[in-house]
Amino acid sequence: MKRSIPIFITFVSAVIMIVFYFLNQDIESVKKFQAGILNWVSIIAAFALLLGIFNLLFVNFYKLRRFNKDSIYSLVLIVSFLTITISGLVDDTSATYSWMFENMLRPLSSTMFSLLAFYVASAAFRAFRAKTKEATFLLVAAFIVMLGRVPVGAMIWGKIPLISNWIMAYPAASAQSAIMIGAALGAVSVSLKIILGIEKTYLGGEE
């Protein structure tokens, strides 16, 4: 009961989505229905966000109460959470909210992202060694494409950008295509197992 009804719900909702995919997309009500269902999903996810937030706050209040040298960080987390949430919920055009977005979130986010520039360098140093035939292919392809993407590549040898584009367009694109096909089959199989209730780990729990 606790498990069979959810499995039934999964089956029905999936089959409905599949059937609707094959209905004429020019029919107004078909489109409205599909959009409506997606809205439902985002509404449910919105409530689930509350669960996540409760967890985050609960964990940090707990750390705060333990009161050691690390408590300050939990306090900072809670304060920044509350400031942006309250200012944004009251008025999402408010000065505090956009100031925090512009001067805190945006730089934090893009800086975190930019750390990758350093990490690609250190990963390349470690991983790109011609230890095996496979690794050599990896290395050489990376090497040529990396050079081909910047003006310096063409300065070293005029043909490098051309070769680099060829690699991207033929061997790289085709292997990419194979990965996509393979992964799609995996995805079909997983969703089929979910629809039929063979795969039900996501429900957790006993019958």
Binding site: K2, P6, I9, T10, V12, S13, A14, I16, M17, I18, G36, N39, W40, V41, I43, I44, A46, L49, L51, G52, Y73, S74, V76, F81, L82, T83, T85, G88, D92, E102, M104, L105, P107, L108, S109, S110, T111, S114, L115, L116, A117, A124, L138, A141, V145, M146, I167, P171, A172, A173, A175, A178, M180, I181, G182, A184, V188, S191, I194, I195
Partner: protein, 221 residues
């Protein structure tokens, strides 16, 4: 060099440096930035969800006026109830009820996903291989060797890479050899897309450095 006196840029610059300091080692400044980041971004998503989802998709359509205009809006009570059921997770005893909304979400995802991947990742790919990469390539109605040869490489690469993913056959003999060719193509593809990406990652760093140098420190080339 004229350092800015805009407090916003100061805060942004300090946070930027705090994140960069992680490259050297973990330190209290990074830890502080990290906690601000987690807290503020979680809050930001609460705000976005409220303004972009709850209000326009649930609250407004369920208001009296909107319901009068379009009685179908009343159907939104169903996701509202499902959403509230989701919150039973907070109770130990009733948390199993949350499986109802969850199974609905998963079902919709599985149903949408299965057709979408067949279309875009299987059929479109076959189309691309079979019709866009003809092995008998014509230029002005005449056979063109070079492109036909390239297309042959393309086709061989797809098929051999696909063979690598066979799970129910031992990689021995002909299958093994072909699959090994597939691995080589896969490796070339991985190397190439790594190299291709390096570019983007550095662009991001350049933008941050430009921010620090130009906007914060006021250094201009």
């Amino acid at each position: 060099m004229t350092i800015t006196n805009d407090p916003g840029i100061w805060v942004a610059a300090i946070l930027t440096l705090a994140i960069f300091s992680f490259l050297i080692k973990d330190n209290p400044l990074y830890k502080l930035a990290e906690h601000i980041f987690v807290g503020a971004s979680a809050g930001y998503y609460v705000v976005i969800t409220y303004h972009e989802v709850l209000v326009p998709k649930l609250v407004t359509p369920l208001s009296t006026g909107a319901v009068k205009d379009n009685p179908y809006n009343l159907l939104l009570i169903i996701p509202l109830i499902l959403g509230i059921i989701m919150l039973t997770k907070l109770s130990r005893k009733h948390s199993w009820m949350a499986r109802y909304p969850l199974s609905f979400t998963v079902g919709v995802g599985a149903g949408l996903g299965i057709t979408a991947v067949i279309k875009s990742d299987i059929i479109s790919q076959i189309y691309g291989i079979a019709f866009q990469k003809p092995l008998w390539f014509l230029v002005d109605g005449k056979f063109d060797f070079t492109i036909s040869f390239f297309n042959l490489i393309y086709v061989v690469s797809v098929l051999s890479s696909l063979l690598y993913f066979f799970f129910s056959a031992e990689h021995k003999g002909v299958i093994g050899k072909t699959a090994r060719l597939g691995i080589w193509f896969l490796m070339i593809s991985f190397g190439a897309s790594f190299g291709f990406t390096v570019m983007a990652r550095i662009s991001l760093l350049i933008a941050r450095v430009q921010f620090l140098l130009e906007k914060f420190l006021g250094i201009m080339s």
